[in-house]
């Protein structure tokens, strides 16, 4: 039975021409679940529209 995220993994794999063999899929899915959970934690934090990204530290 397909797991949640499998359709998404298939679609992004195709869009990026990035191979995901079946044997790797459970680990890729598990890692993606962690990344998305942490991404949502950041996403939930309200920031003003004017906030600029800070890709590197500057004085």
């Amino acid at each position: 039975m397909a797991e949640p995220l499998d359709d998404y993994i298939d679609a992004v794999s195709k869009a990026l021409a990035l191979p995901v063999e079946e044997a790797w899929r459970p680990a890729v899915r598990a890692n993606l679940e962690v990344s998305l959970r942490l991404g949502r934690l950041v996403d939930e934090f309200a920031l003003p529209d004017e906030t600029e990204p800070a890709p590197i530290f500057t004085v």
């Binding site: 995901v20 890729v28 962690v34 942490l38 950041v42 996403d43 934090f45 800070a54």
Partner: protein, 464 residues
Amino acid sequence: MTTKPEMTAADIAKAVAGGKMSALDATEAALARIKQHDGVLNSFTDVTADRARAKARAIDADIASGKEVGPLAGVPFAVKNLFDVAGLPTRAGSKINRDLAPAKRDATLIERMEAAGAVLVGALNMGEYAYDFTGENVHDGPSRNPHDTTRMTGGSSGGSGSAVGGALVPIALGSDTNGSIRVPSSFCGIFGLKPTYGRLSRARSFPFVASLDHLGPFARSVTDLALAYDVMQGPDADDSACTTRGLEPTLPLIANPVSDLRIAVAGGYFQKNVFPEAVEAVSRVAKALGTTQVVDIPEAARARAAAYVITTTEGASLHLDRLRKRPNDFDPAVRDRLIAGAMVPAPMVDRAQKFRRWYRAQLAEIFRSVDVLLAPATPCTAPKLGQVNFNLDGVELPVRANIGVHTQPISFIGLPVVAVPVPLEPLPIGVQIIAAPWREDIALRVAYALEKIGVAAAPAPRGL
């Protein structure tokens, strides 16, 4: 005069410059110690013996002819194998990079160390492409902890931790994206400096996450750490993120008193998910410094999450083509993390970078009333090699995911940190001495004070 493993870089440089020991003898002693112990430690992937002997002979010739020699004359050192070393492919812990052409020129930091008289003796083991907190490597085998060779060194600069912790060399260089200098320092019981983001040039080192990558030194004493750090400072047009600030030497400042510094323990997030040994280490350091104040760093868990998102996505972007063409040549665990990183939606990355600015402003505010923050470097002492989980208060937690929880929220905004080793029994553990941006001098000063009163010390290797 012959060298002893406990000789610091400062001891060696003084003896060499004073004519009491030759640079060649110091180099041969390091090479002999590597030969004796590295079969067990597995810290070196390349030993550059011919190059080292040639450099040492040149230093001895300079001394014989009365020329000035640098502050690291004759001091053996080694570098994580993501630094370019002329004549070697820069493997960065990978199988794939071994196919690269040999580097034509040394990394900037190697050039600066050698300009100060230091002698490169080799390149060091590391986790694949620096995406690692354990020091394990499927291609080269794990680097091993010098205090218990059945345990991890921590990573990803595992060979650096092992080589300095095992006293094979007094100084090593490594990189720190999320904790890769501070974690091996903690597990291997040595001092490590992760400078402010942009302070030291990364030119001609293999990258991982451009917006988080730092390079820095490891040593067995604070004086050695400052010596190495000072000679490596300075602008470098070959690294676009390298600061144009002038040199700010720290060695003349480290013995200044710390009584005027406002020092606080990081509370909240930094006091959770820690084993008793980490609590004990921070407590000893705080007590020695007379610190009672506790400061909460707001949203540290979210900062760690944002660092994770930026790391996995920037790392994936860096390796995208290799993931397409040579996926089976990666460590499978690294490959699967990177593939997942390529699939994280872009808005999450953008929001992580925006959150970063907000978080940086919170820390800037804290540093208006505090000079130093203390926090654990790792939640525990070195786990067993291959260990998957640890049990904390009855809860099973994955080792890999939790080793860097206290380092990530700090490097996320590039703050300078000295990891100091607290020599607990049976294994040492590190504490982070965190300062405001560009104030490496303050972090080193506190580390030096702790070393002088004996609370911080690099223990002799117990596993050799």
